[in-house]
Structure formats: C-alpha cells, structure tokens
Amino acid sequence: MGDVDEQMCADKPLAVEHHLYEFGSLQYHIQSYVSQANQVYLSISTHILSIGSSTLHEFPHYTLEDVKRICHEVVQIVEPTKPGYQLTLKLDFTKIPHKKDAVKIITKISSLQSIILSTQLRELLKNVHDQEISQGTYKPIKLVYHPNEPFYVIKKPAKLTAVFPIRFKEHSDMVIAKAFFQELVDVGNSGVCARAPPCCWSPIPPPELRGEPMRDLSTNGGFVSFELSARHVEGKKLDKTVWNLLNFYALVKYHVKSTKGFVQRRMRSRLESLVEALHHTNMEEDHNVKKVTGRRGVKKLIKFTRNAILKKRWNLTKKIKRIRSRIRIIGFRKFQRRWLKLPSFSSVMSYQKLDKS
C-alpha cells in the first residue's frame, strides 16, 4: 500500500488517518499517532465467506492464524478491534528490514484481503469430504461472499465445478455481460488458454443445481461455470485460483462499467464529427468561388482609365498655358493651333468600330 510505504519513508513523525474504499464493499482504515511514530494501526472490514444461509460476523480462527503468519515480528493482531471493523493489526516499522525485504513484507501486508479470502475458501473446500453425497456426487456448496450474490461449488471425483448465477438490474448491463461471457467461452476453447479451466455459459441452471431454492436460481444473465482440475489448485496456484473465483463477480461488473464508459466516450467524439459536418452546409461558408489574380503589367494597363487620361491632358494643357502667358508673340497663336495641338488618345477600355469596307 502506498500509505504504508509513505509512512515508513517519512522523516518526521506524522499523525495520519485515512479511510480507503475498494470495489466489493471493502474498507480499510489506516491510523498512526505522533506519540507512537513507528507504529501504524491497520483495520479492515470485508464480507466474511459463509456457507448456505449461515452468516459469520467475525473471522474464524484459521484465518487469524494465517494472518499472524504474514510476518509475526511486524504484524500483531489487536484486541478488541476498532469499532465497525472485523480485524485490526498493529504494524511495527522498526522491525521491518530495509531495501528489498521491506518491499516483500509491505506487498504481503497489502494482500491481506486475498489471504483472508483464500484461507476461508481453502478450509471450506477441505471440509467438503464431510458433506453428504447425493446420487454419486457431492451436494453443491453454496458460498455467499456478497449478500445477494451467492455462488456454488460442486466437488466431483476428478474436478471441482464453480457455478456463478449472474443477475443484473439493467437490461443493457446484462447484454454487455452476455457478450463478455461469449468471448470468455471462445477464448477458453481456443488454443491460447488451453491450460486454463474450461468455461461454459448457459441460460438455464446446470443439472447439478437441481433441488436448490428457486430464489437463488432465478437469474437474467444465465450461469457461468468453471471446471477446475488438480493442476489449478496445487501449490501456489491455489491462492490465485481462489482469488480469481471470489472476485469473478467484481470483474464482470467492472468490465460492464468500463465498457459503458468507453461507449460514452466514443459517442461524444462521434457527436463532434457529425456536428462539424453539418456546419459545412451553411451558405456563408461556401468557399467554392475562385479568385483570379492577373499579372502586374495587366494591372498597369487597367489603370489607364478615361479619367486618368483626361487628367493627364489637362495637366499638359495647363503647363502650356503657363508658358504662353509669359511671352506674347504675334502669329504664335496660329502656329500653336496647327503644331502644338495635343493629339487625342483613344481609350483602352473603348473600342473603335471598324468599317466594313
């Protein structure tokens, strides 16, 4: 846990109190006092695995024995437990070794939940031999981890079958979960996970569950079954298998929730692209009109408008008049009319009609 590690690495003693919640109605409480700098109190509240209709309010003794064995020097069980929690542990940081061993011990403490669950299920499965035998097979064992989510374990001579009745409140959740179960069956039957326990899904209860109360067998998501063989429960694999089975419901619900979030994100991004396509239909945004740019020489010719020509002619006339007014020469007027008259320029914009001849 990050909080435990942080507390260990802190230079100054800190008063810490944290409440942590995990998916599956799991609560942690971490507390440390300034007066007891190297000691942290860790409390845990979780559902206790029970068989059938009986419910337990505290952990059985074999669970507490396994918890003590985590690291008996560092971990001590505190009696009485903190109110509202089933177990309170006292962690002594002075006895935790440094470097790599410290990480191992902290990782073991962090997996407290899995240790509690695995010990309970392991003991229940060990006591299966005491169960009555009916029609050549053992009677199904009903295990209740969450209040409304029981599952069944059926022991057979060569294998163990775990059956999970699936229920969802919303129809869309059930459809998404069914698609997931279909993929689970396909992957289990493929060569990729050949050594994994075979998985199957059926809309009706399997024949082994005949005789169970209808209230527990009425579902809308069908039944998922895993067939466990000896190789899945031997040695270190037993804890992993037990952890996976007990958290199967949590996995399915989390997958459905994250799938719905994924669909929502996709829809939002698609909405933006569809709205953008509509905005291009607006008339003012029609950029299909092409703009033609001419050469610089053509632009100069275009500037020779009628007004420009008339203005130039007037300026020249004015200049000549100014010259004329200074000196008066007899006969110059005739000479001026004949030789100094300005030629009329034809406009570039207008055209001259050619004679047909």
């Binding site: 129809h171 869309s172 459809v175 998404i176 069914k178 698609a179 997931f180 279909q182 993929e183 689970l184 396909d186 992957v187 289990g188 990729v192 996970c193 050594r195 994994a196 326990p197 998985c199 899945h232 694999k237 992993k240 298998t241 996976n244 996995l251 997958h255 799938t259 994924f262 669909v263 929502q264 996709r266 829809m267 698609r270 909405l271 569809l274 709205v275 396509a277 509509l278 291009h280 239909t281 607006n282 008339m283 029609d286």
Partner: protein, 214 residues
Amino acid sequence: MGRRAMNECGVYVWSFRMCVWKFKEFIPVLQVDPLSSTDLAFTLSMGSSVRLYLTCIRNTLEAAMCLQNFPCQEVERHNKPEVEMKTSPELLLNPVVICRNEAEKCLIETSINSLRISLKVKQADELENILTKKFLRFLSMRAEAFQVLRRKPVQGYDISFLITNYHCEEMQKHKLIDFIVQFMEDIDKEISELKLSMNTRGRLVATEFLKQFI
C-alpha cells in the same frame, strides 16, 4: 397483390401516390407495379446494395424539399411547421415510406413549409439493439447542436429529423440532403465499429482473466 405485396425476391412493397412516379427514370432498378387506380407500388430488388436505398432516399428528398414560408392559417402571427401540427390536410403531401427490408426503412412526410424524415436503423442482435438505442438517444438529447434533429423520434422509428423553410434558407439544400444521407451511413458504420470494439475489449479481458489460472 394487395397493399403489402411481395415481389419475386421477397421484399415488402409499400405504396404511394402518382407524384413520386417521376423517380422511376432516375432509378433503373425500380419496377412500377400499379395496384389500384389511386395507388402505385415500387419495389426494390433484394440484390441491390445499400447504395440504391440511399439513392432512392436522396432523390425523394430532392423532390420533397421544396419548402416555402407559410404562416399558420388558424392563429394570427404564428408560423408553425405544418407537418407536425397536421391541422390542415390541404397543406400536407402524401407520406412516402422507403423500405430496404423489414428492419430498415425511412419515412418522409412533407408539408408546405416543413419536412420530417424518420429513420429505422437495422439491429441484427440484442447488442446492436442496445448500442443503437443508446447512441441515437444520446444524439437526440443533444438535438440543439444539430438544428435539424428532432428531440423525440416518431413512434416506430429510431430517429427523426425536422427540416423547415428557415433551415433551407440558412443552409444549402443539396448539402442538407448530403448531410442526411451521410448521417445514415455514419450511424451504421459507428454501430458496427462499437460492436467490434466491445467484442475486442471483452476478448482481451477474458484472455487476461484466464491467463491467471495458467
């Protein structure tokens, strides 16, 4: 053959009036089969792809989208889309239903100043059903962003558009039709992609879960 007829390819036939007769020259695969003196029937061959279905819708919209401003005849200084009010039958044109198959169809209702297009999207299985419902409801709730989208679809259909003469004045008609046809294609494509993505995610999660047992 009655009002609901089956041609040699097994496609349902819906009937509509003479004003749509001229579309026959644009769509060579259409076969005209008059059922009665007042009704005409069009059939779409089963072998035609979605392209022909969309072309038929496009041509129908091009003919139907001739809208003009028309104030309300019953209330002074009011201007309402007549296709929604349906108070004056003389202002309404005959509705047209274009079916690709039983699960996929398009209803086009026209009036003098407004046009309503309702679409039913194909849904092959339960997963496509919920994805289509979720997606189209998501779009309908944000109808103000689309301007031409209706907040609630017409009964029996998945999504509806309402186009008025004001929309035709603000936007170009042919581009509006392009948008609707493109919207239909995009919806189908998006539903298929969503389904594929969900199955891929499920497969990945299932693989990782089963690997823990190995």
